[in-house]
Symmetry: C2
Subunit: 367 residues, 2 copies
């Protein structure tokens, strides 16, 4: 057994003496940011890598926060000494996004003006707001250049905004299984998820004492279907039931139903309902062309090397969109992960993801 | 303008003096069946065609029930003089399925033993139960042979059960965009739909006075996503909002959200919540191999000519499953409808569907 790599959960307060102006105009200052770092920043401050997380993710991208933790961070196999993001070379940073519920200011935080949690009074936020906060965090850490900005799904949306908002700071990008604008299909998939949370009587207009567990459960079920694939479910669950001997019994769920309910319950324990609403709204509002012109023209202005990756079985951010993204970016290569696991493959297919990232970094950032 | 073809809504009471035994053992007699017919049965009773409807469908497959009706039945372009199911040749019958809410005995009917609606006390039913009731209806109408049994989606499930339950009566089948067993993926998609209905406080354990509109709305949203396609939604809705000038406003839905809500509301007005639960359960329990052996062997025993059809963009009953079905059936041909409309294409792509059905019938049932 190798010893567990430890990365402490960190936190910083920003904008204590200046406003943090969101796109909607609200000033959120001061802003708390939860983050983790792996490796060491060099004296020039130019060996940093920024990792951006997905919808229900956190700053805990890799390693363990303490020796007793049972599972490492969500991209652990990719981050560490000798791994794709080699911490012998790079200073890897991951922050919990603005509006998150893992330590960064969001709907669960106290609104200093009222002394109460923001909940549904939190201002509508954008992916661009998230990136502005990441930039302020990088500044506070002394980072001058980002060797790359990488992330899948909603992480990839931040990745695409970075070179548009801070072009001089970003040297390459890795948008993985993501979107230059949230498609009508993806917006459609979010709609019943939000409605289910809003329908749950326990939601109580956002003023819940206990989480609206059934609403979150339904939302997570829908999401988990969109994150996986027909073929994977067929292989994994077949037509098995929880009790094999009770066929015509609505109280005897199929294994796949039981799995979805379990996934729902797990999310209830770790993710806040209001936050789920706000982050899905931010994703739906994501569109790199907003205020900038036709998306093809906007993508063309991103001239840093880009690694675009699609997943063969992704029904949420399908490969044809990833190819289109790569085609319009100024300097992109496209790789495809062959997987049965659907959209979530970027959190599962470690060999393919490692290989794509390592090859790309070797080419664009030899050290 | 051609004159409207009129088909009267009909109804028959069956099993007045005999039990109608469901698979779960319950006796449902007497059973009411709503049906429609188009064309004339010949004296030999051997020119009949049975049309099977999908989840929220009805017996109103074609024509108009009265001259003031604004829209015809759901497969109207396929049924009539000179159409694919040519009523100059065939006696076309469609019945509302057992457990339906369009006139056939189901959860909204009165339980004669209590004098109250069945609602959630209705027995669990199966696709096979539906077919047994269709057979009794055919008998009552004097039908001796079915030239073909045709249907898409849940209709196709009935189609596949017919030659297994009544082999001597069926001369050909047309299972379209359907399943020999409901896949884990399809079961997964039903699960949050049912949960949303059950979560709605207005559902009240099935004892509602007004429909649980929000729960049904969420269920229908999820269903409508699975019935259509990414490409169609992108083309139809783009990223348009209801109010173009209110970008960061959670109360300003995307057009696709507005569409899904409207579809939900329409279903609330025309389909019963308990019925939705029972029919989706019946679909999930559908498996032609149940009690019969491996599905490949079971399908092989179906030797009548079969027209299997898949839809290129169907995410619910994907083409690879339709091809597999055709491959295992004893005597099948496979056609693929090229469409952007997803699963619903069998209710939209009239030219392709007409051509496939006409060609098949010309070959297997020349008259």
């Amino acid at each position: 057994m190798t010893e567990k790599l430890i990365a402490q959960a960190q936190s910083i307060t920003l904008f204590e003496n200046a406003p943090f102006r969101m796109e909607v105009g609200a000033d959120l200052s001061p802003v708390q940011v939860a983050f983790e770092t792996y490796g060491q920043l060099n004296s020039a401050g130019d060996n940093a890598v920024l990792i951006c997380h997905a919808l229900t993710g956190s700053a805990h991208a890799a390693w363990y926060n303490n020796p007793n933790e049972t599972a490492p961070g969500w991209w652990d196999p990719l981050i560490g000494p000798g791994r794709a993001f080699d911490t012998n070379k790079y200073f890897v940073v991951c922050t919990n996004v603005l509006g998150g519920c893992y330590g960064t200011t969001g709907p669960t935080s106290i609104n200093p003006k009222t002394g109460l949690p923001w909940r549904m009074s939190f201002p509508q936020m954008s992916i661009r707001d998230m990136v502005h906060l990441q930039k302020a965090t990088c500044d506070a850490l002394g980072i001058k250049k980002l060797v790359t900005v990488a992330g899948g799904s909603m992480g990839g949306m931040q990745v695409l905004e970075w070179p548009l908002l801070y072009p001089s700071m970003v040297q390459s990008i890795m948008p993985i299984a993501t979107a230059w604008r949230h498609s009508a299909w993806c917006v459609a998939l979010h709609e019943p998820q939000r409605q289910a949370i809003l329908l749950d009587p326990d939601f109580n207009g956002g003023n819940y004492t206990a989480q609206p567990a059934r609403g979150i459960g339904i939302a997570r079920s829908i999401a988990m279907i969109s994150y996986r694939s027909d073929a994977e479910y067929a292989l994994k669950f077949k037509r098995d039931r929880v009790h094999q001997d009770r066929y015509f019994d609505a109280e005897n769920p199929f294994q796949v139903e039981s799995y979805l309910r379990y996934q729902g319950q797990k999310l209830v324990e770790r993710f806040d309902a209001c936050t789920y609403l706000y982050i899905t709204w931010a994703m739906d509002q994501h569109d790199i062309s907003r205020g900038r012109g036709p998306y093809e023209d906007v993508l063309k202005t991103i001239r840093v090397p880009a690694l675009c990756a699609g997943i063969s079985s992704d029904v949420l951010y399908p490969v044809h969109e990833q190819k289109e993204l790569a085609q319009h970016l100024g300097n992109a290569r496209y790789v495809e992960f062959n997987s049965i696991h659907g959209h979530d493959a970027f959190l599962i297919e470690w060999d393919q993801v490692t290989s794509a990232i390592s090859n790309f970094l070797t080419d664009v950032a030899p050290r």
